[in-house]
């Protein structure tokens, strides 16, 4: 092992993009990805969308074909979790006992499903949806399901609910917050999505928690905090994720809502970086550190880190964007809407295609587009700095987003 060797813990979106970008930049040291999952690294977004609905084959999920790893000389250690970091010796140890020396260590450990803290949550039939193994198992059960309860109206819960409802399964979504996607989208978009799901036959309960899951040997029902018993053949818990920080914390690195890094994605140990879902980083205009869960964030941070490891340090400052498909609805979000005090509609929600421009005063913070990809593209330009757009312009259908500037 040479001191320039890069070892990455995790082999998800961030890790693969990092390896690809390092090789594109002619990095010639060894690259080893340590994965606690088996099989080749795959894309997560389709797990709750096209893969779940049967529109995408499992083989199409691969982030890169098998030939990529040989051709690019990227090693993947499968099915072996990293369990310890010896920072003084610069060695990572794995569950199998294997040890990997590193010149630079990258933590790309992602996040894990937040467990449901109620009685009955351990019963068979209470499942999560984070990885391929869980997605496969859930997909195999679909044909036999008559009714499901989804706990949590976040993106993954709603995407799964849309797939299940489309198959004719009776779906009840239970959300503790007053509206779905409370943290993710504006009230206008949230209300539109709620109405759409109800239109597809899904029962959406908001402002309601879950008190317990009942069943003798398998989940049979969910009991809400207001005492309703909802029968279910299966309960999907989709109440968010917790960043995988244990490995970093045990090594004495700072962790809070994620592994804490600076604008260059470096931890306090110059030989260790973190990125993607597991990393909390500083971002202009935001208070404290932020942690984002998106393919864009994982990929762009990987490109930025690759640049630094190739000797061209750049502080990370990319515009966040995200997408979610729910049945025929294609939602795209650019920017972060937290703190907006004004929303401006472009297009008519009744037509099923519209965008919500979220402003804080005169400053555009985020744009949520539903079946309006061009608005999303324009938004990415506006939010990246130039040109500027005012609330009045955003609201004016005659205003051409393309010509703005």
């Amino acid at each position: 092992m040479s001191s320039s060797d890069v070892v990455v813990v995790g082999a998800g979106h961030a890790a693969i993009q990092l390896a690809a970008s390092l090789r594109q930049g002619r990095y010639d040291g060894a690259i080893t990805l340590i994965a606690d999952e088996s099989g080749l690294p795959y894309q997560r977004p389709p797990l709750s969308k096209a893969f779940m609905s049967g529109h995408m084959e499992e083989a199409a999920l691969l982030l890169r074909p098998a030939s990529f790893y040989a051709a690019q000389n990227v090693g993947v250690v499968e099915n072996d979790a990293a369990v310890g970091i010896d920072r003084a010796a610069r060695v990572v140890t794995l569950a199998s006992g294997a040890a990997h020396a590193y010149g630079h260590l990258v933590l790309a450990t992602g996040a894990a499903n937040r467990p449901l803290p109620v009685p009955g949550a351990q019963l068979p039939g209470v499942v999560g949806l984070r990885n391929l193994a869980e997605a496969r198992a859930l997909k195999a059960l679909l044909p036999g399901l008559r009714r499901v309860v989804v706990i949590g109206a976040g993106f993954i819960g709603l995407e799964f609910a849309a797939v299940a409802a489309e198959r004719g399964i009776a779906v009840t979504v239970i959300e503790a917050a007053p509206r779905p996607l409370m943290r993710g989208v504006s009230a206008v978009m949230s209300d539109h999505l709620a109405a759409s799901h109800r239109g597809w036959g899904t029962e959406l309960l908001t402002g309601t928690g879950v008190k317990a899951i009942h069943g003798s040997t398998h989940a049979e029902s969910a009991e809400t905090t207001d005492g309703r018993i909802i029968l279910a053949d299966l309960v999907l818990v989709a109440i968010g994720v917790i960043p995988n920080t244990a490995l970093a914390a045990a090594a004495g690195l700072r962790t809070g809502n994620g592994i804490e890094v600076d604008a260059f994605l470096a931890t306090a140990d110059p030989a260790i970086s973190a990125l993607g879902d597991c990393a909390a980083f500083p971002m202009a205009g935001q208070i404290g550190l932020v942690r984002l869960e998106s393919v864009q964030n994982a990929s762009d941070q990987a490109r930025a880190l690759a640049d630094r490891l190739l000797g061209k340090p750049t502080s990370y400052a990319k515009l966040p964007w995200f997408w979610s498909d729910q049945a025929a609805l294609k939602l795209q979000i650019a920017g972060l809407s937290g703190g907006h005090d004004q929303t401006v509609l472009r297009g008519d929600p009744a037509s099923g295609a519209f965008s919500v421009f979220c402003f804080q005063g005169a400053r555009l913070l985020a744009v949520e587009s539903l079946n309006r990809a061009p608005d999303h593209m324009a938004a990415r330009r506006f939010l990246a700095g130039a040109p500027k757009i005012t609330p009045a312009e955003a609201a004016d259908p005659a205003f051409d987003l393309r010509s703005a500037g």
């Binding site: 690809a20 594109q24 990529f68 990319k318 990809a373 593209m377 330009r381």
Partner: protein
């Protein structure tokens, strides 16, 4: 199968053996060709797979789709021969295709 040449902005070229049926974007990403990101996975939703098709190949490759047209109108440095290569499907007819990648996709 089709042999496709991707020429980077700086002149470096990459020759890739692409299988029929996959998109030109997928072929590039699978072979780690720099300059093509394909961040949306080929959904024609990100415009990070922008290429310039060499003149002789424009007719063979064909025109833009409607969504692609709108997406391209928001991309940087577009030309008449700009395409989003996730919308081009590899076939024997594309054997020998040459495309150029722009200075950046973002």
């Amino acid at each position: 199968m089709a042999k496709i040449t991707f020429i980077e902005h700086n002149g470096t070229s990459h020759v890739v053996e692409a299988e029929n049926g996959v998109s030109v974007m997928r072929a590039a990403v699978d072979h780690n060709v720099p300059g093509i990101d394909g961040d949306c996975g080929g959904e024609c939703a990100c415009a990070t797979c922008h290429v310039y098709v060499e003149a002789a190949w424009q007719g063979v490759v064909g025109g833009r789709t409607e969504t692609e047209e709108t997406m391209l109108s928001f991309a940087a440095a577009t030309q008449d021969n700009s395409r989003l290569c996730c919308q081009i499907t590899v076939s024997d007819a594309l054997d020998g295709l040459v495309v150029h990648t722009p200075d950046g996709q973002h």
